[in-house]
Assembly symmetry: C2
Homo-oligomer: 123 residues x 2
């Protein structure tokens, strides 16, 4: 990997502040599923079954719990349409769209990480 | 919160790719402690006890496990100095510095999130 020119390291106080903010962020976003679920719903509103298909490996029980958590924290909204049968749609709120940059950087990093793993397996 | 002008939504294929990358990233970085630990060590090399003090709430047992995981994934290096008593120092590798943007965005977001919580508590 090419060495990049790094900005000067953070001061002790800046670092402690930053550590607090990252901890705050992970407190609501932590775990295996929240960010993938937000990313899926930011793309467009979906039904429970559609989310199950898109986010591989999640069980219905865990998905139900995670959706409830995300709704409580106002990242998603659950809309119930009184059709027959009842139609329940989950959609991303504007607040979850504030995570755009976080998701973008995580996605970029994940891509580079996968490349790195591939290369190290070839060696 | 001010409404911001959003870029056009991702296509279905772009979204699935991005979802894969975010999942890859969370696979190695997931959990409550990895990113805070990396952030602490990016600031400078530290001993076990120093990390304990800086990262609040982590138990010695969990810290030992997390450090081992991070070492295996090449985010940190463990240096043993044959002094008396033996001196063990943990330091961030260049690879963990590739997470700079991710940490920066998470920290920004965490800061805004805390502001939002504060405001909603005032109401």
């Amino acid at each position: 990997m090419a060495t990049e020119i790094l900005e000067p390291p953070l001061s002790k106080v800046e670092c402690a502040t930053s550590l607090g903010h990252v901890t705050d962020a992970l407190y609501v976003l932590g775990g295996k599923w929240k960010l993938p679920l937000i990313l899926t719903l930011v793309q467009g509103p979906k039904r429970f079954g559609e989310i199950m298909k898109e986010v591989e490996g999640i069980s219905p029980k865990v998905l139900a719990k995670e959706l409830k958590d995300l709704e409580l924290n106002e990242f998603i909204a659950r809309r119930v349409y009184a059709t027959t049968p009842v139609n329940i749609i989950y959609e991303a709120t504007d607040y979850s769209r504030t995570l755009r940059n976080v998701l973008h950087e995580l996605s970029n990093w994940g891509e580079q990480h996968r490349e790195r793993i591939k290369q190290s397996m070839r060696r």
